[in-house]
Subunit: 286 residues, 2 copies
Amino acid sequence: MTGFINYHKVLIVGLGLIGGSYAQKLSALGFEVGALARRQQTLDFALEKGFIAHGQTEVTREYVSRFDLVVFALYPHTFVEWIGKYQDYLKRGAVLTDVTGVKRSIVPTIQGMLREDLEFVPAHPMAGRELSGVENSDCRIFADANYIVTPTERNSPEGIELVRSLGCILGFRHIAVLSPEEHDEMIGFLSQLTHCIAVSLMTCKDSEHLAEYTGDSFRDLTRIARINEHMWTELFLANKDELLSQMDLFAGQFARMRDALAGSDIETLKEMMRLSTQRRGYFDKK
Amino acid sequence: MTGFINYHKVLIVGLGLIGGSYAQKLSALGFEVGALARRQQTLDFALEKGFIAHGQTEVTREYVSRFDLVVFALYPHTFVEWIGKYQDYLKRGAVLTDVTGVKRSIVPTIQGMLREDLEFVPAHPMAGRELSGVENSDCRIFADANYIVTPTERNSPEGIELVRSLGCILGFRHIAVLSPEEHDEMIGFLSQLTHCIAVSLMTCKDSEHLAEYTGDSFRDLTRIARINEHMWTELFLANKDELLSQMDLFAGQFARMRDALAGSDIETLKEMMRLSTQRRGYFDKK
């Protein structure tokens, strides 16, 4: 835990699936982990499981000022509201990080409103499950996942290094540093667009009677169609321009294939399939 | 092997991935399996592995007339050509079946041209891999897959039962009977449309630099983007009208989501996600 000698007390703000998984892992590593949650039963669960040492539903100066490192695991708009209301309570020199799935619309807002002595180093743990809530927390989901730090010119090398190290000790397979813009383009294509596709496909027809014929292709394609509508709607809107351009790109290629089929244009169909086959090779798990 | 007492000698026409897997399983079950393949090295491989007892590259009356049950594992147009050229060689009273992934454009053609004493009972084993060829044959792919018999009014109850039983002994998890029309609608939506989506997504951008950030959602969605362009182009064209209507249905829902996002129509986005989440529940593996 080199580098964390001054950051031994960690506050998790928001004990959902990801916040809970952070708490679980950090407690197991020997950190003193506290939490703020909306409901007492969330805290009780986390206390019982040993994910946290203590926690509160009320945000108080006395409690918040005890922590050196604060991880925000909230919806984007709640995160911004929290900083606006409570940043005065934070300990002098504390380092803040987050788990938010969009960056361009959040990072400059938070960094722009933050006290001079605090540093916010944004990060996105690209891990999740089709379930939510602290009851489904499981820090093993980090083992096969990516962790992206998205700093700006306002960040210090030490702050970036600390939050990068946090990804390491949480056990992520791959750690990367991207700008907020690069992050949002990447996430718009790889994650948000794929969720749009899965949801659109799943809403096409009342497919209950088809379930018994379903092979792995349909099942794989729609696994992510089970979706938390509040979180994802907020994430989509927070990355709207980027996601719209990725959706248009996909719709264009899909229309190209449709027109090739309608016109029995065998060469275009085969060309698209060859390109697709070749590119899919990049994505084989190493 | 009750029911197969008169169908002990099985000919596999076409030793690719599926034909080879049929041969492997049927030989293991004690059938006498012969094969017709285009290349001697395909036969040599299958002989060496014990998938077949014998085989030929040349189609001769002497060889073909020895078999009671004939499984066609060919591309659709090659299957039609074969029947046109060689059906005279088939043993009197032989039962024919196939593995073709489209039915409406094939079944009436074959049944319409067939000798009176022969019976063709169409079937579709919904199993596959992202690899092709007899070298990749593996009858374990049947264990978690569906097998659909698609008879018409020209079929006899005995013929249907025989081909249904074939699915059972091959080890398929689920066996169903559908009309060729129902089959093609189902396959257009569940299988062909999903392949169109995966291929279109994969051709969107040169995504090599994105591979290191790719989580499971993109990987799952594009697994089937590795595709045999000759076979799938032929299957798409053979089910063109049905597939076009499924593609239009999907494109419509995708455009609905895009417009909801563009207009920040939160309620429509959430409604689609709720519907999608609810319907995805039908598809959980039992």
